[in-house]
Symmetry: C2
Subunit: 176 residues, 2 copies
Amino acid sequence: MNESIIASARQRAIEMLSRANIVLSEEEKQNIEIADLGMDDIENVGLEIVQYINNERYCAKELVEFPWQICLEHRHPKVSETNPGKMETFRCRWGEVYLYMSGEATPNPKARVPEYYKPYMTGWKEVILYPGEQFTIPKDTLHWFQAGPEGCIVSEFSSPSTDENDVFTDPRVKRV
Amino acid sequence: MNESIIASARQRAIEMLSRANIVLSEEEKQNIEIADLGMDDIENVGLEIVQYINNERYCAKELVEFPWQICLEHRHPKVSETNPGKMETFRCRWGEVYLYMSGEATPNPKARVPEYYKPYMTGWKEVILYPGEQFTIPKDTLHWFQAGPEGCIVSEFSSPSTDENDVFTDPRVKRV
């Protein structure tokens, strides 16, 4: 991504967070991570991240997704004897989010996935989250999510984030 | 506390959360914990808690404090070889909160503590948090906090909560 795409995505995320009445410091606004997952297609794929805290015990973030933007399928495998892999809870704060994971496929899911990405979306068990609803991803389970037509803001509460250990289904992804 | 005091405190917390645009499910609203710390003086002491998640890895809550309401001084000691004690980050979402802990006392602190509680407030190092500001309490450190004139809403991100292990300075406190 070039600098102007990053700046524009960041500005758009700041506006969505403001609309949802989530207050950030100026420093936090300027540090919003624009993660395109190596696809250089931020309109369709990636996420915008405000990381509040990530220490050795816990992690908390706001995740912003533009309308129909997708966070591609991945899982958080066991890392070591003392780290069983990241565990995470998604709480929808604004908009709507369609969450998918391994398991019995939901008929007529709400997601709209461009053909280019579809081959690497294997989990189609759907959970829809509206504001005030939340879901905890089962351990080491493949999952992905897509915002609805207005985009979404999701709080993520979790054990520590170690992005370098995430395993994506699509081999084209570059996370870190 | 009798049932009508609890119901009224819960309603007041619901209104404050709504004013801050924090969306809760109906079930969450009805389950807001009204913790008076055994003092039966909820106007002055205690807190109103929405617990989003508390599992074996992490915990996330919204804490509501009425105007000038105080969460009394306590610490989270080491529990066992595998549990070094609760670690927590407070992020102010709405209003203002005055946080105090052990360390060099701040001159002219903003807190207004009723005489009945003052003997058990030992930490006077002040950190003031406005919306968008946060602070992580150092390990096993005595701390307490008081809302400002409009009350406050604070997100707490932490390692798992085990209230029964909290150690309060005031021997009159009953937490669990």
